[in-house]
């Protein structure tokens, strides 16, 4: 019983690390730029497919494929910002949030189905090249791929945290997050910052996508569920929270989700996660006072 609990908790920590990475990445984008970036799911998926193609058809080494996939995600994310969101916001002004959200839905539909076109003929799309072995750690086990995933998750989270806290780029990003107009007034170009933020966030999300594809396989709609997890983590943590706080929420979500499987069938976990989100959001006006109604 105890061993089972420990194993489930370890699984929760490993999944939670990925949720943490996703939440941090998505939270960075929406927190700094205000864009409700649904197409985050597309860049996540694209990274997985690019990595899979590289290992399947070119025999690229695993880690090179991870980096290449994440880089393609970064480029794509920035391109979406530059060629879709930015021009729309120039024209819509006050209504912008909703319009960007809708455009993002459009980009997701296009992206996901373009990827789906490539899968019509062949069977499974997988990321090869990682020799996965089981590791026995006393009462619990985990695979080396799990370990690698969690390590990379935390490497990226801590790097971003350090970047924001210690570098001048990080200071500029935080300035734009705190106040767009004021940042503009002190000579920061929010457009450029937005562009960089999309690149960083999409890179991090893309890395998560590649590892997911290595664990199972790459499918066109593999991005939807992780996107929802990213949403939950980012919003529950707060859109202007530092990365480590967001990451803590991700870990908590992973643990809660794992522990629910001890008492409920696994199909119910999504319900629990979104139930938490619903209650959290629904209670928000009460926490905030009713003045904003």
């Amino acid at each position: 019983m105890l061993e089972n609990f420990l194993q489930v908790s370890l699984n929760g920590l490993i999944n939670g690390s990925t949720y943490a990475l996703l939440g941090v990445a998505f939270g960075l984008i929406i927190g700094v730029t205000g864009r409700f970036h649904v197409a985050f799911a597309v860049t996540y998926t694209l990274a997985a497919f690019v990595a899979a193609w590289l290992t399947m058809y070119l025999g690229a080494p695993f880690w090179a494929a991870v980096v290449a996939g994440a880089l393609v995600a970064a480029l794509t994310g920035s391109a979406i910002e530059r060629f879709v969101y930015w021009p729309i916001l120039l024209r819509t002004g006050a209504n912008g949030l909703l319009m960007v959200f809708v455009a993002s839905l459009g980009v997701s539909i296009v992206g996901r189905n373009l990827i789906a076109l490539t899968t019509l003929q062949n069977s499974a799309t997988v990321v090869n090249g990682f020799s996965n072995v089981g590791l026995n750690l006393g009462p619990v086990t985990l695979s080396s791929l799990n370990l690698a995933t969690a390590t990379v998750d935390w490497l990226l989270i801590v790097s971003l945290s350090q970047l924001l806290a210690r570098t001048s780029l990080g200071r500029i990003i935080r300035a734009v997050r705190a106040n767009h107009e004021m940042a503009l007034c002190v000579g920061i170009d929010p457009g450029a910052v937005t562009f960089i933020v999309f690149a960083i966030g999409s890179f991090m999300g893309g890395a998560a996508g590649v590892f997911q594809a290595a664990l199972t396989s790459a499918t066109p709609d593999m991005g939807i569920t992780p996107f929802f997890y990213a949403l939950v983590v980012a919003f529950v943590a707060g859109l202007s929270s530092p990365p480590l706080v967001v990451a803590a929420v991700g870990i908590a979500l992973g643990l809660v989700e794992s522990w629910t499987t001890l008492v409920l069938p696994t199909t119910w976990t999504a319900l629990v996660v979104f139930g938490i989100l619903f209650i959290y959001v629904a209670l928000r006006p009460l926490r905030r006072g009713l003045a904003s109604a």
């Binding site: 959200f101 459009g106 980009v107 189905n113 919003f235 619903f278 959001v281 928000r284 003045a291 109604a293």
Partner: protein
């Protein structure tokens, strides 16, 4: 032939979905990415009732609609107090929860859904072929269209559009904003439920994929592509996206699977292209078109021939200055010991003052003295930490802004807060109290009374617009007016509330000199008609000319009060106001 009916049926089903979302999003300004989820409630209700209890589609449609409406009510309770991004998030959560629920519940068929909802008959007629469904669907879609039209293009819809443009300003005119949002959210969820039930009839299956997040996204796309705020626009949006299906399925040389995927690519591409090229949609509503034209011209949208009215038509009222006003007067409003802190900042510190009938009182003081906070405290926009507000003997300290407005104390805003996508006349009409057409029961049951009241309201609003000299611009979108003109329209709007107490926040700031004079005359004539007026004003000439009694505020405190000339003779106050003289 049947294939044509099949596409037409699909158009009708999605027309109901899109009309419901358009009323919610285009009129009331609320977002929902859960329309498909509400559709699932209606659809599964119809399927379950038929398969398990043999209940026919007539009852299935009705019960499905009501169930979805009730679900919408429950979701709306917390959701409608949220800002846009949180509302998106919450409806996303609802969408996911509903789909996950139907997917995991074996009684609902899991991932495969409830199959074989076939052999339906309504009023004895079979519903097996698309052509047999068509008359039913046409009637239902027509009912939904007419309902949305009645709700949207009426005094009720005027309130919805005002909430969309500026909920705070709408509340300050006495409207129960939250109740409107909740009602319209429930109604549109019910319509989505009806559409979902129709979809199940059409496909004879109720499955999770039929009501997935993607379907919700497609419904949003239809509304945005067509043009939010225009019901006919949604029909265009539905037609465009639905007819992409035959294009890809039949006319272009793709295999079935590829055609399906490419069609979705096209959906998304059309959506993004429309947003990039025409963010207002293919067929936006009339006032948006006018507003765009005006803004493109780069100036206020004056009607042709209206230039003659550029000089303000000063209302013909006698302005009688009555200097001897020390006789005891009716106290209409009294503030007693109001305190309010924002963190460490004391915005109001034990404020007490009174406003008298037939008096103009003025609040003056340096920037940051807390003058606008006083208005916010009086009108319930913020609650005081201590103290109370009494309006005609009644304690209104804990009343909401709309309750206070209905009790007879109305305010204007320093930043105008006009409703830009309402016409000038509509801005003023909205403020008129007691309109039957703003409530559902008279709106649908007393057509004649509603339209008579609407005509009367139009006349009253015209009079107020003429009163402030803006009569020539009644059809212009308020967002296209110059700032000074908007200020006058906002004044007409607050006057139209018929409130006994008027709180005017910087009525003269940013207004052209010519208009200032017009405005002063208007305010003076109201004072003489027995209204209770309080102004916050930086322009001391305005205060000098209007104020019967002046309160001087510094750092949240009233430090002096009395006659304007007495106050300005005090060297310390002048220094506090202007800095060192």
């Amino acid at each position: 032939m049947e294939i044509a009916f099949q596409y037409i049926d699909t158009i009708l089903v999605f027309a109901v979905f899109a009309l419901s979302l358009n009323l919610l999003q285009g009129y009331a300004g609320q977002v929902s990415v859960a329309q498909a989820a509400f559709g699932a409630i209606g659809g599964y209700a119809l399927a379950l009732l038929f398969l398990d209890a043999g209940v026919g589609p007539a009852w299935g449609l009705a019960i499905g609609t009501i169930a979805a409406g009730f679900a919408g009510f429950l979701v709306g309770l917390p959701a409608l107090r949220l800002t846009t991004e949180w509302l998106i998030l919450l409806t996303l959560a609802v969408q996911t929860i509903v789909v996950t629920l139907v997917q995991t519940d074996h009684a609902l068929g899991g991932s495969f859904g409830l199959q074989n909802v076939a052999g339906l008959r309504i009023f004895g007629l079979p519903l097996d072929e698309p052509s047999q469904m068509f008359p039913l669907f046409l009637v239902l879609a027509a009912i939904v269209y007419l309902t949305c039209y009645r709700l949207g293009e009426s005094p009720y819809g005027r309130v919805l559009r005002a909430i969309r443009d500026d909920a705070t300003a709408c509340r300050s005119l006495g409207k129960r904003v939250y109740a409107y949002k909740l009602t319209v959210f429930s109604l549109t969820a019910a319509m989505a439920g009806l559409a979902g039930a129709m979809l199940v009839i059409e496909t004879s299956i109720a499955s999770p994929t039929l009501f997935s997040f993607d379907q919700s996204a497609v419904i949003v796309a239809m509304v945005v592509i067509g043009g939010a705020g225009n019901l006919n626009g949604s029909l265009v949006g539905v037609a465009v996206l639905t007819l992409l299906a035959p294009l890809f399925d039949r006319l272009l040389p793709f295999n079935e699977q590829a055609a399906f995927v490419l069609r979705l690519v096209a959906y998304g591409a059309v959506l993004v292209a429309v947003l990039l090229v025409r963010p207002q949609g293919l067929y936006p509503d009339a006032i948006t078109r006018r507003l765009e034209r005006a803004l493109r011209r780069g100036g206020p949208a004056l009607e042709v021939g209206a230039e003659a009215a550029l000089e303000p038509a000063i209302p013909s009222v006698e302005i009688v200055r009555q200097p001897s006003r020390d006789v005891p007067r009716d106290v209409v409003v009294s503030a007693e010991g109001l305190c309010k802190k924002f963190g460490g900042i004391v915005a109001a510190d034990d404020l007490s003052f009174r406003l008298f009938r037939g008096h103009v009182s003025a609040l003056v003081g340096p920037n940051g003295a807390g003058k606008t906070t006083v208005f916010n405290l009086l009108t319930g926009a913020i609650k005081p930490d201590a103290g109370r507000v009494v309006l005609r003997g009644e304690d209104v300290t804990n009343a909401t802004p709309d309750q206070i407005a209905r009790s007879g104390m109305a305010r204007s805003f320093q930043s105008v807060r006009i409703f830009p996508r309402l016409s000038t006349l509509e801005n003023v009409m909205l403020a008129i109290p007691g309109q039957p057409g703003e409530h559902l029961v008279p709106l649908f049951l007393q057509w004649r009374g509603t339209s008579a009241a609407e005509r009367a309201a139009r006349e009253i609003a015209r009079n107020w617009l003429h009163f402030v000299g803006m009569g020539a611009h009644e059809d212009a979108p308020a967002g296209a007016l110059a700032f000074g003109e908007q200020k006058l329209v906002a004044l007409a709007r607050v006057l139209a509330t018929d409130a006994e107490v008027l709180l005017l926040d910087e009525p003269a700031s940013g207004v052209d000199r010519r208009w200032v004079d017009a405005m002063l005359e208007v305010i003076a004539s109201l004072r003489d008609a027995g209204r209770t007026i309080c102004i916050v004003e930086h322009n001391l000439h305005v205060v000098e000319r209007l104020a019967d009694h002046t309160y001087f505020m510094e750092l949240g405190k009233i430090t002096a009060e009395g006659d304007f000339n007495t106050l300005t003779a005090d060297r310390r106050l002048v220094e506090a106001y202007f800095g060192v003289v």
